[in-house]
Amino acid sequence: MLEQNISSLVQKLRNKEITSVELTQSYLDKIKELNPSLNSYITVRSESALAAAQKADEAIQAGTAGPLAGIPIAHKDLFCTNGIKTTCASKMLNNFIPPYESTVTARLEQAGAIMLGKTNMDEFAMGSSNENSHYGLVKNPWNTDLVPGGSSGGSAVAVAAGMAVATTGTDTGGSIRQPASFCGITGLKPTYGRVSRFGMIAYASSLDQAGPMARSAEDCAHLMNAIAGFDPQDSTSAEVDTQDYLADLNKPLTGLKIGLPKEYFGEGLEQGVADAIREAVKEFEKLGASVIDISLPNLKLSIPAYYVIAPSEASSNLSRFDGVRYGHRCDEPKDLLDMYMRSRAEGFSKEVQKRIMVGTYALSEGYYDAYYLKAQRIRRLIKQDFVNALNEVDVIMGPVAPSTAFAIGSKTDDPVAMYLEDIYTLSVNLAGIPAMSVPAGFSNKMPVGLQIMGNYFAESKLLNIAHQFQQATDWHLQTPSMEKGA
């Protein structure tokens, strides 16, 4: 396993113990070795990565290097990259080359990070297993018969299998946290509006949020320092000051009040997952925290509310794919309507078409009040639950997902079973609060993720809490042996 500790790598690069070219080459070698079996990258950019590494080495030499100079990372293939194919894992965008750069990728480039390539995902970020990609499914490096989670599955696997130091992901209903949990890495979904959505291909605009995926909370903090902050190009970007996300990592947790919602420990939760989470909570008690039982009474409603709001917004966002300006166009359209209908039917997978139709139905005349507005009212109830709870406690903890990674193909025929997987993550996006997934043990030999949810813009606190846990435990340092199949 290659080293994946950003602080230490930055130090070694500055001390000239290693060069970025060497480091980047070693990651490219790892990708060459493992990607054919794991399929975590859609696009690998060897030449441009090595050229950028060369420049980073020169900048380090000249003393003009940015904070992440020379660190090899990868981006979910949903962030537009200027001049580099961006597919969103869809046939629709099979040949799309963005003429502009997303804010997230631009800021990381500005900080000196090296882009190794673009990672696989569920098409248009719709999925919880990364089985729904035009470029093939992604496998979990801990056991290649199992899914890596989704939708940022490729990004999670790239970190877990040592094919990138860190990656970017996006989280609309759990798409950073759940794959982080399934692959045993650390992921942060920031507060809605904390990280710019400019240049992210939209799924559900009132829920989408980009964030870092890495080995540790400290590495996530390094990425947050680059990507967080107001962006005038995103109309819902929050005009709230950022912090130095590394500054508070070492604060002691004495007096921390942790809330455990009883709804997160009910029916459907795998015993091994529950045990690992309880053990993790005990570790926090040792670190000086106190634990309070709380309730989020409307948790169950987050599933129906989400599966109205997200598809509705998707139906609107994905109407831009019309075969005119970019994307797939069918052969020999006989008229404009035929071109729209066949281009979209050919370009989108079944799951994407299904969500578009659910949303179209929910927004159609006569149903808008009963579905979309009703879901938005329930959304307020869910938000209020979190606001009430976070008046009582500093953070809320629970599992990320009801189980560890499941078998490839085991849920593809039952969409509702797949949707129920997201019960512990969806509510966070509906409320807009930040949350992390932190490795906290194993069940059935597969990683378990602890979810830490905090108040609006409390990313620093979440990273501090996760970092302190990672100083006391070594779950985040466990890596897959890659013996089985891969």
């Binding site: 040949n95 799309f96 080359i97 003429p99 507060t191 809605y192 509006g193 009132s206 109309s235 819902t236 929050a238 005009e239 169950k300 409603l301 129906p304 509310a305 599966y307 109205v308 139906s315 019309d322 075969g323 005119v324 300006r325 970019y326 994307g327 797939h328 166009r329 006989k334 008229d335 404009l336 309507l337 071109m339 729209y340 209908m341 066949r342 979209r344 039917a345 078409q353 299904k354 578009i356 139709m357 659910v358 179209t360 139905y361 159609s364 009963a370 579905y371 009703k374 009212r377 329930i378 959304r379 307020r380 109830l381 938000k383 969409p415 509702v416 949707y419 509906l430 807009g432 609060i433």
Partner: protein, 95 residues
């Protein structure tokens, strides 16, 4: 809430998706099961609760009405499936 095939074809038409007969019967059951799932919402009393559209309850920020983008016609046309004379080309709309 259960949909018949005609409902599915109507939704698909609104969404501009061409469905075969076979697709339509597949979607008939999968859409119905999703709608059944979201039906749970109807049992909740939400009278007097305002819909929440932005989790931070922010209002849309406005910017000054100034040109901020340069003309990049060629770059944007480069991704189009069909262009002519600097324009996007589509099937004949008016005879």
């Amino acid at each position: 809430m259960s949909l018949d095939k005609q409902d599915v074809q109507k939704i698909a038409h609104l969404a501009r998706l061409a469905l075969t007969e076979e697709d339509a019967s597949q979607y008939q059951s999968s859409l119905s099961s999703v709608l059944e799932l979201v039906e749970q919402m109807q049992s909740v009393d939400t009278d007097g609760i305002e819909p929440l559209s932005n989790p931070l309850e922010m209002t849309q920020r406005l910017r000054a009405d100034e040109v901020t983008e340069e003309n990049r016609r060629e770059a944007f046309l480069a991704n189009a499936p069909s262009t002519e004379a600097g324009l996007f080309l589509v099937p004949k709309v008016i005879d």
